[in-house]
């Protein structure tokens, strides 16, 4: 357990600059966005007031987030891409790097499953730190919005309205409904493990392993797809459907972890 924590620390440490880089990029990019779109609204407001034909509606922070759809989402999409690639790199860097760290890492006196779990934990930590950083950033951005927009033009909005205003939050990142949040992130965690095991299949059996990996991912995808598409109006009661879905999820998770642990402990080649 102790060594597992040390391994997680090591993985986080190795990625820290990229993580901070992504945070910095997101902060700068979105701050510029908030200032720019607030200014556009303010100019519109002043213009309308000057012409005097109608009294413009005050606008809220959520409106700004809504205005800046793509601009706001871009650093988030970049971060998602980087983290997606790092799911692969967190393994491959130990083989292809100049240091070939795999030689030392797999010779450490600890259960190999700890290495697998530590890498997965690190990926999840990166995802959750980015998400919580985004939430914190939204709060700060609202302060900024309140600071630059005169109170005459401004109306208050709920924080959840701001989150709901951008499709990137609304759809995958921050579902406001509890169940959807659990389902999305649960599936995401499973996907990380499935990819890890697929990567290990490739690392253990090389070319043939790529075929195994593709078949394995396809099998897991089919199982989860089947679970997702169980018709709620059909044969089963909703509670039964939930139980079946949970069952399938746990089986896929169990098989993935068992296979991953076995590969990393017995079959890996540095």
């Amino acid at each position: 357990m102790n060594r597992y924590v040390k391994l997680v620390h090591m993985e986080v440490h190795r990625f820290r600059y990229v993580l901070f880089g992504m945070m910095l990029l997101t902060a700068i990019w979105q701050t510029i966005g908030v200032i720019y779109y607030a200014k556009v609204r303010m100019d519109g407001w002043r213009e309308a007031a000057r012409l005097g034909n109608y009294a413009p509606r005050p606008f809220s922070f959520a409106d700004i987030i809504g205005d800046s759809q793509f601009w706001f989402a871009l650093p988030i999409l970049i971060s998602i891409t980087v983290l997606g690639l790092y799911i692969f790199l967190i393994w491959y860097r130990d083989w292809i790097g100049r240091d070939k760290f795999a030689y030392r890492m797999f010779a450490l006196p600890t259960a190999r499953s700890n290495i697998y779990l530590a890498k997965a934990t690190a990926i999840l930590l990166f995802v959750f730190s980015m998400v919580s950083f985004q939430l914190l950033l939204l709060l700060l951005e609202r302060q900024l919005f309140n600071g630059i927009v005169p109170s005459d033009y401004r109306m208050s909005s709920l924080f959840s309205e701001a989150v709901a205003a951008n499709r990137v939050f609304e759809l995958p990142l921050l579902p406001l409904e509890g169940v959807r949040f659990v389902v999305y992130y649960g599936t995401g965690i499973l996907a990380v493990f499935v990819l890890f095991t697929a990567i290990l299949l490739e690392r253990c059996y090389r070319w043939l392993g790529i075929v195994y990996a593709i078949l394995y991912v396809a099998a897991c995808g089919t199982a989860i797809g089947f679970a997702a598409n169980l018709n709620p109006y059909g044969y089963f009661y909703p509670s039964e459907i939930t139980a079946i879905r949970l069952g399938i999820y746990l089986v896929v998770m169990g098989v993935t972890l068992a296979l991953g642990f076995r590969l990393v402990s017995k079959k890996i080649t540095v």
């Binding site: 040390k6 790097g97 795999a102 797999f106 006196p109 890996i268 540095v270």
Partner: protein
């Protein structure tokens, strides 16, 4: 005793090791000698569980290899295997964190012996210096066995000399050493037992002093005879 019994390994369809059998005793220096591609590194990796074996058994003091192996045997690969941005002091700390048998005093003694700078980064070391630091990371563990892969390959003369000195010093002490080389000439005075590996099979195992006194041959003589035949 590190004991390999009929160990086989294949990569794709190629048989890399074919029923390799030999033992490296504690308190002795055993050298695996073979040309490039004979399977020397694979033997060491198999002992450390860094590559699977497809037949045979490997035992350390009578027990199959497992988690305990990694405290019992210190492995010095043929490259440093430390992230290039890591400072030497951090790398030592890393080892101390993970190895319960890490000997801090021995580590500082070795750092002094090799004249290494704690503040240097692993990626900036010259080849010879990296090889010395690699040795520090392996020898500072209070392990029962040390296995090292080509400790002399591609290193300047002075580094080679100071590395060779390690073998006749307290740093190795009563531990068992298993090392590989494709160029035995320089260290043939240092080794007790030689295992000649040819195309993944053990061609001959012998005690060096015995071959000198009974056959009047050097290790290099036997090596030429067996491997180039």
């Amino acid at each position: 005793m590190i004991e390999l019994i009929r160990v086989s390994h294949r990569y794709l369809c190629r048989k890399v090791l074919k029923e390799v059998t030999f033992a490296a005793e504690k308190g002795q220096i055993t050298c695996l000698i073979g040309l490039n591609g004979a399977g020397k590194s694979t033997v060491l990796k198999a002992i450390m569980g860094l590559t699977p074996i497809h037949g045979g058994t490997i035992q350390i003091d009578g027990k199959p290899i497992g988690r305990d192996t990694y405290e019992q045997v210190s492995y010095i690969p043929d490259h440093l295997a430390v992230p290039p941005s890591m400072k030497l002091s951090d790398a030592l700390q890393f080892m101390e964190d993970f190895y319960s048998r890490w000997n801090k005093d021995r580590a500082s003694e070795l750092m002094r012996f090799f004249g290494l700078d704690y503040r240097e980064r692993a990626g900036r070391l010259s080849k010879g210096t990296a090889a010395k630091f690699n040795l520090v990371l392996g020898l500072a563990q209070d392990s029962d066995y040390i296995i090292m892969d080509e400790p002399f390959a591609g290193i300047d003369l002075f580094s080679r000399e100071s590395i060779a000195e390690v073998f006749s010093s307290e740093l190795v002490g009563s531990r068992g050493v298993l090392l590989t080389t494709h160029e035995v000439g320089e260290i043939e005075h240092l080794i007790d037992q030689a295992v000649l590996l040819r195309d993944g099979t053990v061609a001959r195992t012998f005690e060096c002093e015995q071959v000198r006194s009974e056959e009047g041959k050097s290790v290099v003589d036997v090596m030429k005879e067996v491997l180039l035949a």
